[in-house]
Symmetry: C2
Subunit: 307 residues, 2 copies
């Protein structure tokens, strides 16, 4: 089978942990051990998140007194692709993957007319008191928005249209490589009238990129692996229960949006609707069980099974 | 022909320039325009330097109050591979390269017994007064050394033994891709007794990595492109003259070491001696002319021509 895994950035650096290298490498090692058996038996693409990592690098760049301006987001996303891609390739190999593992720096094409550019919604970087947030917004030209009681920078999160390196990625898979790509959703670029590519100040949702790539490479499965074991029905209530599956027919009716689960379910739904393939959401530690349906929540084209 | 180009990090950010993104993208664009005709006509691997970039990221990491420890050099080198690899891939395409361009995050195997680990010599990051340098050395466990009248951190620069992703790189070339790899010499790793790979605190010279890779992939040419038009005989004297060629027989006898020219000449000499191929050193802007022998300094296996 050809499988695309979307690996949560928070699975690589958990809330409350310092953004040091050592704990991240430990998490990447655990992720690689969970994915290694899948990589050996199947064709595997790994797309990873980068939320905490790009936030750290953005903050370092803002505070660097040597710079006239902080680095743009496309360049920072590319930095995280280098670092996390390096760790993943190394750890997959160390976890026993005998195939070549290649981390590809990836550009994701987005539409300059995407409404996300008019309404930035994706939080990035630190939280600030309202006064500091306004000062920083003025200094750097940021859009800011409240995140709970404090304020943060928000950036556009346009829909991915195409991964520029897509054909080469497919070719690498065919030749037996494991491919790490689309990290942090890919470095966002737009095309000008002559086809020239230019980075833009945005971040692309990595689950959306993974779903788009899974459709493009004709994957059989999309696995969205995170730090929770399943999608919960009635999330946040005393009645919350893990779902074994969600049918496409249910996606519109239910409200799963709490936290970051909404976009994950939507990405899986898109893949299932377009390809008729299977998608699932579950815990990284349960990767093999999520793949074979013994754990996690399946998103299916058919009638849901809430058994 | 199969060609490996080593692209100087200083060609991407010149001395005295602020390490901002904008001037670097301009330099990458110029580099891509010089390399595009070669990429279209030949099989091309581009290895780029990262001195100024890894120095900037190291300093940002040292000064990041959120971190318990600064990031290790292997992870920082990988970050620069992501960023510069992204810029190069994008700009090569924008400069008219119709082949796919892939930037590969690269690991370079080094020997843990390399004498460089006992005697670090490679300067990295900022210059400091002696007192500050000693404080930082104590804080971070650095080795420091004088650089002119001021002091800097020095790190080991071991010889590259092998690029872990080498076989896939050859395969990509065969399938018509332009490959950007070995950035900053590659993220340095050592292998343990079971073959597991682990990052180390070191940087590998990118010209050495390019020469080693050129030998491994059976390249026909190695081009070391930098910001000077040729190797100078009697460098720094009123008699200094550009050399059209240097024969292998002359490498031992002459003294070219001033600046960073010594390692470039040595890398070219190694490639020529092992493969019988041709190597040349010259200005990035003259890339096509350096390739066909009309500019730059050729390092040849035969008798030198100082015409």
């Amino acid at each position: 089978m050809r499988i695309v895994v979307a690996l949560g950035g928070n699975a690589l650096l958990q809330r409350g942990e310092k953004p040091d290298a050592v704990p991240q490498i430990e998490h990447v090692r655990a992720a690689a051990e969970a994915l290694a058996p899948i990589a050996e038996q199947h064709e595997l693409i790994v797309c990873h998140g980068n939320g905490p990592q790009v936030g750290m690098l953005a903050l370092e760049s803002e505070n660097d007194p040597a710079l006239a301006r902080p680095y743009p987001l496309d360049a920072l996303v590319a930095q995280t692709q280098g670092m996390i891609g390096y760790w993943l390739a190394q750890c997959l190999r160390n976890a026993g993957v005998t195939k070549p593992v290649l981390s590809i720096v990836t550009q994701t094409l987005v539409d300059p007319e995407d409404p996300a550019f008019r309404t930035p919604t994706k939080f990035i970087g630190s939280v600030y008191d309202p006064w500091t947030a306004r000062q920083l917004a003025e200094l750097h030209g940021w859009t800011i928005a409240p995140d709970g009681e404090r304020w943060r920078r928000v950036v556009p999160s346009p829909e991915p249209q195409r991964i520029i390196e897509q054909d080469s990625i497919t070719q690498l898979l065919r030749h037996g490589a494991v491919v790490v790509c689309g990290g942090g959703g890919g470095a966002p670029v737009t095309a000008d009238a002559t086809g020239g590519l230019h980075g833009v100040e945005a971040v692309v949702d990595k689950d959306s990129t993974a779903a788009m790539l899974a459709i493009a490479v004709h994957a059989d499965r999309l696995l969205v692996l995170t730090d929770v074991p399943a999608v919960l029905a009635d999330f946040g209530t005393p009645q919350q229960t893990p779902l074994r599956s969600i049918g496409l027919d249910e996606l519109a009716g239910r409200h799963f949006a709490a936290g970051s689960m909404g976009p994950k379910i939507a990405a899986c739904g898109r893949f299932v609707a377009v390809t008729g393939g299977q998608a699932a959401i579950g815990a990284l530690d349960d990767a093999a069980a999520v793949l074979n349906g013994a754990a996690g929540t399946a998103i299916t084209g058919g009638v849901a099974n809430h058994g």
